[in-house]
Symmetry: C2
């Protein structure tokens, strides 16, 4: 079942390092004081294309054999994977097709176009995204690069964990947001192989809590209609990512929408980093009274996953309709 | 007339280094490409209290003799100098009184209070600010620390220039925003003493262009009603800062409001840094067709002065009434 290992992460690191940023690990004295925890932020908002997704996309695009990508690459994504794949394909001179729902944020569509991708519109439903992507695949012969249920993508995301351990060898715990589980799976493989005692936690919006329910019940659960402003976390675990998470993740901390917005705003105010809602979810988890009490005085790394916030619709200014 | 010298900047650096951040000098590949210039950003949004103002306030508070500050320190400010002085006073265990207009941004008032200052309200006019500050001074014996017309403050701000030359010895030109001229005066003293060939430019909003008109006419000009979203740049040059700028600054580049907002948004989108409107003014200047053509292929440092943006009133979302 688990067809991606630490060795794949190590290979990904060798493959992608000339093309990705080694992102900084930073702290905020005032957030430390407020939480009573030594918090370190792994700043993937400063990664190329503005999110960690570039690591996985880059690894997949560079690793795939010539024969597989002769027709280019294709994916469906409304967000960060779209830009990431577009830019990665550009590196190798491949055509990239990105199926994007018509309600995507205009800035994300523009960024994807700017990286030279062909954007193919679809209706805003998973079914239509998959249908249109399959059509593109059939017509062009492009290789489908899944945003998370793909060993090469998981291995690429795992390089976040390798860097983190290099930068912070004494870390006690790592908290990362979970959506489809690609990043977290990669972190599990990277971190537990090197330092099995580091405790790994997921953070998830209450309105898209399939990972929390899946890990607690031991069976993969679906959330049919995820409702959260953390648009990067609306995806569901796959069998592959679920299998990895079960072996490594201690708990999934569930956070409310107001906690996500609060953590996002706190980061903007105190650290002067633009982070998107999904990226604030792990800090939101650590700010919960019960969680921060457990980690008081210890060293916790929080993964900030991306900075592609919709600057025209900040959650504390605009009331969004539930999706 | 000019009672502040390079030696004062050097002393300030020795005095304040344990208390201030050495801020990073960063670049953005995509902004470089767009401008065709090698642009480096001096990131004072990451300075303590969120702006360069902490350097000057810190230098003043630490340098003043015990007898002068027995009654504490006082200033009037609606913005970054308020927070900076409050926090600097806290370092030395001094009382700080900050006279703030009643229309100040609530977040800035709260931050000033959080640093332990006494906030004294006044009407939103320079006359009333000065009147109330004088009253506080009389009642408490507190020492008045001017936001820019004060040698110790200018010397403190000059430490930005010393760091910049250490980080980028080959810089061809430096562009910084100008309001009262405290930062720019300090930069002039620091940079031209060490590297007289570096070309120094000011950037200023068209709605508060006293520096541009003063330097062009050779006589200090006033703008009685500055109108700009760059709230940190509404102040006027003093005789002291004017005298320094005349000797060192080659030109003042004037920018429109739309250029400020455009540069601010570009920074948020591309670099994921929260910068305030005033901080975007120097990049707005460099983006002007005529300016960037002059500096094509050369190395230019742009000072980003602070990150204390009003997150409830982003200029591309909210139409503000002219002040």
């Amino acid at each position: 079942m688990i067809d991606v290992q630490f060795a794949d992460v190590a290979r990904a690191a060798e493959r992608i390092w000339p093309f990705v940023h080694r992102t900084p690990l930073e702290r905020s004295a005032s957030i430390d004081r407020e939480l009573g925890v030594h918090v370190w932020f792994k700043c993937e908002q400063f990664q190329k294309t503005g999110s960690f997704k570039f690591r996985g996309a880059c690894n997949a695009v560079l690793a795939l054999p010539e024969a597989a990508v002769r027709g280019g690459v294709v994916t469906h994504s409304s967000g960060n994977h779209a830009q990431a794949l577009a830019r990665a394909a550009q590196l190798r001179g491949l055509r990239a097709y990105v199926v994007m729902p018509t309600d995507s944020v205009p800035a994300k569509k523009e960024a994807t176009l700017a990286y030279g991708a062909h954007v193919v519109p679809c209706a805003p439903s998973l079914a239509d995204r998959e249908r249109v992507a399959a059509e593109v695949q059939k017509e062009t012969g492009a290789y489908f690069v899944h945003p998370y249920d793909e060993p090469l993508v998981i291995a690429g995301q795992g390089t976040v964990g390798l860097e983190l351990l290099d930068q912070l060898p004494d870390v006690d715990a790592v908290i990362a947001p979970v959506g489809g589980g690609g990043l977290l799976s990669g972190l599990c493989l990277a971190i537990h192989q090197r330092q099995p005692k580091v405790r790994l936690f997921a953070a998830e919006p209450a309105g898209a809590d399939d990972a929390a329910r899946s890990l607690r019940s031991g069976e993969r659960q679906q959330v049919t209609t995820p409702v959260t402003i953390a648009d990067g976390l609306r995806a569901q675990l796959s069998e592959r990512t679920f299998a990895i998470l079960r072996q490594h993740v201690e708990d999934v901390i569930v956070v409310e929408e107001s906690e996500i917005v609060g953590a996002m705003r706190l980061l903007w105010e105190r650290t002067k980093w633009v982070v998107e809602p999904s990226a604030a979810v792990a800090l939101a988890a650590l700010r919960q009274e019960g969680v921060r009490r457990v980690w008081g005085g210890r060293t916790v790394a929080v993964v900030l996953t991306g900075g592609n916030a919709d600057l025209d619709a900040l959650p504390w200014l605009v009331r969004r309709d539930p999706v």
